[in-house]
């Protein structure tokens, strides 16, 4: 029987469908928007249109909006799901870093299970939210921000607080600093925060999941800061949803 994994993140809502053999049949991502329940309904409609009935198939929800999925049979935290999803995607133990819209997590995998994890404190420094706020302020998309950064020279952004960093960026703009340099500083700030968050976790290889995994420049800089290879996979932004689907083995 097919099964469904739903991951309602703070920024993006993801769903995957998997068959009994663990083959990924379908995946979809859409903005979470204001209301998690509404995002869950939109995912259900999309899945229904493809012939996957959320009320019929076993379904597990994860992510910060996991309690907003009325058709889920159970909920599991995104830490466990990202761990399971990473094992599925990368077939190996290692350190999973997920830079999410609201928080950043690092999950150490051992024998295919979560051995230890860390999340950033209740502050947006070193998260996707930080990039989102600054990209908005500079009038570019996050992808454009990374492109600009790759062409710029490093300009330190010293504020760790997103709100203060935004003011710092405004004053850099006022000073006439090239956009490329500011973008470079912003990416370095996020990557540096992520690297210090995971400093206490030793691993030979790092897997990047979550929204930032499609950003090559970020991956390159993260690898530089951590001093080890950073791997990602085409479906890595669905890691949480994949982990949820893997947990939905037994129909209710």
């Amino acid at each position: 029987m097919n099964r469904i994994g739903i991951d309602i993140g703070s920024t993006a809502a993801k769903a995957v469908v998997m068959d009994d053999a663990g083959t990924l049949l379908y995946s979809v991502v859409m903005p979470t928007g204001f209301n998690g329940v509404e995002a869950a309904h939109r995912l259900a409609e999309d899945l229904g249109g493809r012939g996957y009935d959320t009320n019929e198939l076993p379904c597990v929800a994860t992510g910060y909006g996991r309690i907003s999925v009325p058709y889920a049979d159970k909920t599991i935290t995104e830490i466990t799901c990202h761990g399971l999803g990473a094992v599925y995607l990368f077939h190996s133990d290692g350190l999973v870093i997920d830079v999410g819209g609201q928080d950043t997590k690092a999950i150490l995998l051992q024998d295919g299970k979560v051995k230890k994890f860390i999340m950033n404190d209740k502050c947006a420094a070193g998260t996707g939210k930080f990039l989102e706020v600054i990209a908005d302020r500079m009038g570019v998309t996050q992808e454009e921000l990374a492109d600009l950064a790759s062409q710029g020279e490093h300009t330190p952004i010293s504020s760790m607080c997103t709100v203060f960093a935004e003011s710092e960026v405004i004053s850099l703009v006022g000073r006439g600093e090239p956009r490329e340099n500011i973008a470079n500083g912003v990416i370095e700030s996020v990557v540096g925060r992520v690297a210090s968050l995971v400093a206490s976790m030793q691993a030979n290889q790092v897997f990047l999941t979550g929204g930032l995994c499609e950003n090559d420049y970020v991956i390159k800089r993260l690898s530089h800061h951590l001093g080890c290879p950073v791997t990602t996979a085409p479906s890595a932004r669905f890691a949480g949803a994949i982990g949820a689907a893997l947990s939905a083995i037994n129909p209710v």
């Binding site: 935290t77 830490i79 928080d103 230890k116 994890f117 404190d121």
Partner: protein, 427 residues
């Protein structure tokens, strides 16, 4: 619950800010109901603490005011290092003070840096905001040189209320144990002055026995939580007993704790557990949880795990180790007191490896599946020793989760995710 007695007359006499205090009184019953009364199969013995907390700013404050009318003096304390025995011996009363709610923090931030621990900010806020009856009642406050934040806060508070500060050593060499005995002797002089009662070998020996009895009674309750199969009381309930122990008359506290222990021991015989078999057992260690801070306990115990031990000042630190009762001279008794209190392993000491050893031992004794190490935001000492503690636990094969939080509710969902993931990891 019995019909509430209107305490506004008492609070007005104490010079409290009634309007602001009413706001606090209006939210507490809801918070208590959500956290406590939603639990199932609670021990009947908890009825006493439920009654106290339902009238937390009335029932005990009224007793204290009545005692003052009879000439007794009330000492407010913040810390488990302050020896209650000396005060009790001189017919004084010791009470805890307010400091466990976000309600008092904004008032404290008018006088203190925002990046200071919420316990310190709330304490000063409760005193200066006139929204805590205990802070209004006290004849004197006893501070102590534990962390830097408290030391400096006491300087500000001392402008408003009589204050005696005890110099607590920060190391545990032989000369430090001796120094603390001398410090207790100095405190005894202060207590004699405030109470007008002379300390004698007899009244001090009697007080040592009284406080030891309280320790034994609380320890009996904790002993029942070591049972690997039956969890006779939730951590949330045990925490309430400990929190109120700071405020209650020590003899009554011992009596009530012993009654509760009788019931819990029977529950072990009958196999009555408040959690399903196989529920993961958690030990909490770290900074104190002053009433009404039930935040982390509530999150953990509604996320599929049970708390079976608190290694903190509102837990084992309050009652572990008895004072030697065989001493008969002042010198001997002061040293016996110092020897007991100096065995509390607070992060303000250096080095503080004994705390790590204590946590490892408790983890074994209480058969825990995991440890949650928690500190109040901006508590430098506890935060800084966290990695050493976590390393030792990991080496012992005990999973550990580190949580830094404060009294606000805005991180509750993030904490729920972390705690939930930790419990899933243990599973």
């Amino acid at each position: 619950m019995a019909e509430a007695i209107d305490r506004h007359g008492l609070w007005a006499d104490l010079g409290m800010d009634l309007e602001t205090h009413d706001v606090l009184c209006s939210v507490l019953p809801q918070a208590f109901g959500d956290v406590y009364l939603s639990q199932e199969n609670r021990p009947e013995g908890m009825a006493f603490w439920d009654m106290v907390v339902a009238d937390v700013h009335g029932i005990r404050p009224q007793e204290l005011v009545d005692a003052q009318a009879q000439g007794q003096k009330v000492f407010g304390t913040f810390c488990t290092y302050v020896p209650d025995e000396v005060v009790i011996a001189c017919n004084g009363i010791v009470t805890g003070l307010c400091g466990g709610s976000q309600f008092w923090v904004p008032e404290g931030e008018k006088y203190l840096p925002a990046d200071m621990c919420p316990l310190i900010k709330a304490s000063l806020g409760a005193r200066f905001g006139k929204t805590c009856p205990f802070f209004r009642i006290v004849d004197q406050i006893v501070g102590e040189t534990t962390c830097d934040g408290k030391k400096k806060m006491y300087e500000i508070m001392a402008e408003d209320v009589p204050m005696h500060i005890m110099q607590l050593p920060q190391m545990k060499r032989p000369q430090d144990f001796k120094a603390y005995a001398e410090e207790i002797a100095l405190f005894a002089k202060n207590v004699e002055e405030v109470t007008g009662v002379t300390l004698t070998e007899e009244n001090l020996a009697a007080a040592i026995k009284t406080i030891n009895e309280r320790r034994k009674a609380l320890a009996r309750v904790y002993e029942t939580r070591k049972n690997p199969d039956v969890i006779p009381i939730s951590g949330t309930d045990a925490l309430l007993m400990m929190q109120i122990a700071f405020f209650d008359d020590p003899v009554r506290c011992a009596q009530m704790a012993n009654q509760l222990a009788d019931e819990l021991e029977q529950r072990l015989v009958d196999g009555v557990s408040v959690f399903p078999a196989g529920t993961k057992r958690i030990l909490i260690t770290g900074t104190p949880m002053a009433i009404p801070n039930w935040k982390l306990h509530h999150i953990v115990e509604t996320s599929g795990a049970a708390i079976v031990c608190e290694e903190n000042c509102t837990g084992t630190k309050f009652f572990t180790n008895l004072v030697d009762e065989s001493q008969t001279s002042f010198e001997g008794m002061f040293q016996a007191l110092a020897d007991r209190y100096m065995q509390i392993h607070c992060a303000c000491f250096t080095p503080n490896k004994a705390r790590i050893d204590e946590v490892l031992q408790l983890a074994k004794d209480y058969h825990v599946d995991g440890v949650i190490n928690t500190n109040l935001k901006f508590c430098t000492t506890f935060k800084t020793e966290a990695p050493a503690l976590e390393k030792a636990l990991e080496e012992a094969g005990i999973p550990v989760l580190d949580i830094e939080t404060d009294y606000t509710d805005n991180d509750a969902e993030q904490l729920r995710t972390r705690v939930g993931a930790f419990v899933e990891m243990l599973g």
